[in-house]
């Protein structure tokens, strides 16, 4: 039995390690072969980028050597897939190699596509890649005051990031002693300030308390870089001196190119996590089209369910569990307080008041992540 995992990020790594442990007898005896293909020899802890953008973490702290995170039974190659040939149960990689499989897992993640919004790349600062987070930090350091606008594209990974970056901006300018020279305004696509109703209910008075203005039903159409204006689909305008954007996201190009899913989002069964129409192909994390938030947390819980199911398919010929849509998200409410949201397909998140211990738990999790992707937590 050949199991191929494409993507060595949060979802792919947790799945492969969990599976390797469950199937150790089978890999030792050669009955099962477990292979991972990824695009990088390094693994990035992406949530750390938000700290990089505020000078609280340096980029090198975000990385580990991917091979060091994997169980020895996993054969690992840095050789990205360039073609998915699902009808022949095989993939072709950048080096020209063909990998055949009996079961395939696709966990290639998502990427921001700021170029989809005219003017956004030139006009805005981002924190969704190492390079952009460093650039944003330099820009923040230089900023002496004026209008800061936070704008949000759809869809995007980490839905809590717009709120977190807003609290962080407030704390950052306050710590520099220039908060009174900065007007912060937050623009959001739907009719409340966060997709999760309870988060919106909690954050609205918090914004008021710290003097953050907001406008809802604002979907970016284009940025007039010269005049520093963002124009919305709804006909309104955001004026800025400093523009912070959470750009629209897509899945990876290869997913779109090979027509696995529109915009790179692969049609995925909500409970089984199989690719619709392909019983031996499974999908994890950001690249699914599931109506759950694109978070490491969702990728983690999906990976645990899928590892158990794939191991059961090998051992007893059938999956044993359904994914219930579980997500658990930390929410940083500034630089010293945090809360969290936990929910699934059927239970909405209930929000506790932010506290200092929760913030320290998140700081600890930033390190515990490495234990978590090894599948130990």
């Amino acid at each position: 039995m050949r199991i191929l995992v494409v993507g060595g990020g949060t979802g792919g790594t947790i799945l492969a390690n969990n599976l390797a442990r469950r199937l150790s007898a089978e890999t030792d005896s050669g009955k099962v072969r477990l292979t991972m293909l990824s695009a990088s020899d390094r693994h990035m802890y992406q949530p750390g980028l938000l700290y990089v953008a505020f000078g609280q973490m340096s980029p090198d702290q975000l990385y580990r050597d991917q091979a060091s995170l994997l169980e020895p039974a996993i054969e690992f190659h840095v050789d990205p897939v360039e073609q998915f040939q699902l009808d022949q149960n095989r993939v072709k990689t950048a080096s020209g190699k063909i990998h055949e499989y009996d079961m395939l897992v696709i966990a290639t993640g998502s990427r921001m596509v700021p170029n989809e919004t005219p003017g956004l790349t030139e006009g805005a600062e981002f924190f969704y890649t190492e390079e952009s987070a460093m650039k944003m930090f330099r820009r923040l350091r230089e900023f002496q005051g004026g209008k800061v606008a936070i704008v949000v594209g759809l869809p995007h990974k980490c839905p809590i990031a717009p709120v977190e970056v807003t609290f962080s901006l407030h704390d950052y300018f306050k710590s520099r002693g220039i908060r009174d020279k900065v007007q912060i305004k937050y623009y959001y696509p739907i009719n409340r300030i966060h997709s999760i109703e309870n988060v919106a209910k909690w954050a609205t008075p918090e914004f008021k308390r710290i003097g953050v203005e907001y406008e809802t039903l604002f979907n970016m159409r284009e940025v007039d870089v010269e005049n520093k204006i963002v124009k919305s689909e709804e006909g309104s305008e955001a004026h800025y001196d400093l523009l912070i954007a959470i750009p629209e996201h897509r899945g990876m190009e290869v997913i779109e190119r090979d027509k696995l899913g529109e915009d790179g989002w692969i049609p995925t069964d909500r409970q089984k996590l199989s690719m619709v129409g392909h019983d031996n192909v499974f999908v994890l994390g950001d690249t699914t089209n599931l109506p759950v938030s694109k978070t490491g947390s969702a990728a983690h819980f999906e990976a645990e369910v899928l590892a158990e199911n794939m191991a059961s398919i090998v051992k007893i010929g059938t999956p044993v569990r359904d994914y219930d849509g579980k997500v658990y998200c930390f929410i940083e409410a500034g630089h010293d307080r945090a809360t969290y949201a936990m929910f699934n397909y059927f239970n909405p998140p209930d929000l506790k008041p932010p506290s200092k211990p929760m913030h320290w738990f998140k700081v600890a999790y930033n390190q515990m992540y490495w234990t978590s992707v090894r599948g130990l937590l």
Partner: protein, 76 residues
């Protein structure tokens, strides 16, 4: 008359039905009809508010069992 495309946002809290609809509307062509399925009672008000503000057409909204079926046409 184009066939409607289903956007199934039942039992989802994040990103939620309206965000799913906006995402799909952006990629649709002018004249396309989208039918949003939602179990969120808020959708019956939230969705028309955005559709009107963004200048699209509301074609109808009805509750079948526990599910709201909201039909929208991309107008611009």
């Amino acid at each position: 008359m184009s066939e409607s495309k289903i956007v199934d946002a039942c039992n989802t809290y994040c990103p939620g039905p309206l965000m799913e609809l906006i995402t799909h509307m952006k990629r649709a062509k002018v004249g396309d009809v989208l039918e949003l399925l939602s179990t969120d009672k808020g959708s019956a008000n939230d969705v028309p508010e955005w559709v009107t503000k963004a200048g699209h057409d509301m074609l109808g909204s009805e509750k079948v069992g526990e599910v709201w079926h909201i039909k929208v046409r991309k107008a611009r």
